[in-house]
Amino acid sequence: MTPPRKKKMNLKQRYALMTRGLDWETSYQKMDDVFPYDTFEGIKITDWSKWEDPFRLTMDAYWKYQGEKERKLYAVLDSFAQNNGQLGISDARYVNAIKLFLTGVTPLEYQAHRHFAHLGRHIRGVGPRVAAQMQSLDELRHAQTQIHTISHYNKYFDGFAEFPHMHDRVWYLSVPKSFFDDACTAGPFEFFTAISFAFEYVLTNLLFVPFMSGAAYNGDLATVTFGFSAQSDEARHMTLGIEVIKFMLEQHPDNLPIVQKWVDKWFWRGHKMLGLVAMMMDYMLPKRIMSWKEAWEIYFTEAGGALFEDLSRYGLRVPKYADIATEEAEHISHQNWAIFYQYTQAAGFHTWLPTDEEMAWLSEKYPNTFDKYYRPRFEMWREMEAKGERFYNNALPQLCQTCQIPMGYTEPGDPGKIGFRSTEYKGERYHFCSDGCKDIFENEPEKFAQAWLPVHQIFQGNCGGADLGDVLKWYHMDNGADNLDYSGSPDQQQWDAWQAARKKVAN
């Protein structure tokens, strides 16, 4: 840290100078020609100068603090690699959570980098434009730090090697990919609402905080470090999210219905995508810190409750179907883990059945649902495994046209029944996992009728062939190493050999 120095200007003056002071009105080109993207969505802005970043971070300070974060982060990552940090994790099963996280999220960081760069050029107001430029650099940094982590784990574990290739092809990675593609193909204000507000402000805590804390608890120093380092940028991103919402709502009353529709849409999309994180937290961490349901209560019900109460003064209400999402917090992790267990042959990470202790933990955390609906499912599969008849689903699942997840979610109020929804558009049927996903389609059918649904693409002959082996090849998945159960995997053999070697040394 540099020694204290007297500042010539205070923070507010510096911010004004280094943002608004750098902007100008065009003279020989029309502003609308220079900024062609920020009006077509119908959002009305009357005074861009009303925007202010509450952190008042200027580019010079940004470089200083980011440089410091990077120095620290890479020192830790380097020592993790040098000291074989992978040996210190709680159990090699844990690495599978990281596989899913890094193959699912890292390419999104890169996408975010690209799209914030676009906004950093194309938003006419200089305040949000500078904030978007900073965020673009943050997101590139996140992608880089995660790829460094991948590079270390990839030396010892399967499933990481083909992450960028897999992101564009694999069935479950199409869930985060299509989520982000949807946001990037929307206009700038919808993108801000989707990513900065709904995702980063309302939901990202559920992704990073308990998960990074879980990494800390499971001895994964690399993930804790990139996670918390990335998350330190997140507070600024969250601020951008909430400011953009308030700004739109303060600028013109006509903006409210548009913003509300986006908030409803992106809350629901985020909730469905985060179901993957729910499963990581409840099933994939050998040492658990809190259940998904508990995280949902803290970060959505409580924190989101305070947020939407505050925003109600603008007429904005709690996202549509928030009550349904809260009910689903009792089910979603179990339903998702069951999906991956039965399609383990096509997943780029390993699966397993919960042990007795893990089931006891799940019963305790989910007293209303686990014993009644999900324990019997796992016990049936355990019996089948014991008979040498491990349960696989050998057909392909029906996917939701909007979220692209197998349609495995149950009817609100009836966990014994799949919730089927469908609609017709221009003479063709479309299927959805929920009312939320159906509404999203019906608001923009032209967009979602183009969805690249992995199952239908296999049937159309666009994924390397019709057999599982062909498709895995096309996914660049190493059959027998990247996929299937943890038990018997090369990952497990290696881990067991390490543990045996350590015991020998200890004796």
């Binding site: 008849e389 689903n393 057909a395 392909l396 149950t410 029944k417 049927r429 032209e446 183009q450 049937f459």
Partner: protein, 122 residues
């Protein structure tokens, strides 16, 4: 409601990705065994529209649902069918198309008395 697009004519230029013509003479059919949610969702198949409905019972269902402990006890006479949400008494000798099964139709079947492992709907 329609999408708000930057480019004029966007909506008209859209290519829908899953039109029946893209499936090489097949149509997509979804099949679901109610109250047996250990099969996480309905399952999807590309099937010729002229395939007899009875082939579901003779070929597809035993292959893809046969490992469930309830399967051996199914009484096919009593099974209740639904095609796209409507109750139906399919004619097993007639084709899928003749039974009203179209592209992206959902066929559900319920097996009264059999509702999953230990009655848990799993």
């Amino acid at each position: 409601m329609a999408v708000i697009a930057l480019k004029p004519g966007y909506a008209e230029a859209v290519e829908f990705r899953d039109r029946k013509e893209n499936f090489h003479g097949n149509q997509v059919v979804y099949l679901h065994w109610e109250e047996h949610l250990s099969f996480c969702s309905a399952i999807a198949f590309p099937l010729p529209p002229e395939m007899p409905f009875g082939a579901l019972i003779e070929e597809l269902i035993p292959t893809y649902y046969g490992m469930h402990p309830d399967y051996q006890s199914v009484n096919w006479e009593q099974v209740e069918w639904k095609i796209d949400g409507q109750s139906s008494t399919p004619d097993m000798s007639k084709s899928l198309a003749d039974n009203g099964v179209g592209h992206k139709s959902l066929i559900c079947f319920r097996t009264p008395g059999l509702n999953g492992y230990r009655g848990s709907c799993s």
